[in-house]
Symmetry: C2
Subunit: 131 residues, 2 copies
């Protein structure tokens, strides 16, 4: 059975306050302010555990390390190929994506993660300046 841990609670609480999808390292650095002795291993263990029980989302954007999202609700993400930032993306009209996918698939689809790639607003802007 799952037992309460203040470290895990703190990690969860930290994540829901952040909208930039921090890496495990960033979580570690921040939680350390409250728990100076917490270890990176514990952070990883709890992040993976929270993702498994569905309280957070683990993102693997392919650029840099994995990231974690305190919002477990299905939604979309944008990954900037230039600076590697990860942002939420509101895409209307895609809620039917699961239903569509299940139609001709013999397995069992539990969920999906969509990453959009490109240049984020600020990288797009600085490109213009340099050209």
């Amino acid at each position: 059975m799952l037992k309460y841990s203040k470290q895990r609670e703190s990690i969860k609480n930290f994540l829901v306050t952040r909208y930039d999808h921090p890496t495990a390292e960033t979580v570690y650095l921040n939680i350390r302010r409250e728990f100076p002795n917490i270890s990176l291993g514990t952070v990883y263990r709890n992040l993976n555990l929270l993702a498994e029980i569905g309280e957070i989302q683990k993102l693997s954007p392919g650029i840099g390390p994995d990231r974690f999202d305190g919002n477990p609700t299905p939604h979309y993400h944008f990954i900037c190929r230039h600076c590697g930032c990860v942002m939420d993306l509101t895409v209307s009209g895609l809620d039917h994506i699961n239903i569509l996918a299940g139609q001709d698939f013999d397995g069992e689809i539990e969920g999906h993660i969509t990453y959009f790639y490109g240049a984020c607003p600020s990288c797009k802007a600085s490109e213009k300046c340099s050209s």
Copy 2:
């Protein structure tokens, strides 16, 4: 400028014959049959290069290492949470996904990768047996 290399050609050719989205390690092991002295570093360099120029796709399913897809055409993937296998998934009606995403986003969307997660047919079958 890009120069021809028989190693790179072989890697590309190998990838287009495989539909299981092999890892860099698997590519390495197979290319070694033709080029016994090829190094894993060269395989990684060429896989990344081919992905950058758009001849292949790099996939980061979040379970296990990155995988590579010899088919650069946009399409969907299914990742089995049980065995980690990666399969192509035909989902009709999702071609409008880029247009939708671009509508309220100030950056520049170049493409997207969607991963569906769940139990693959064979893992789904063996679950039934053990219960």
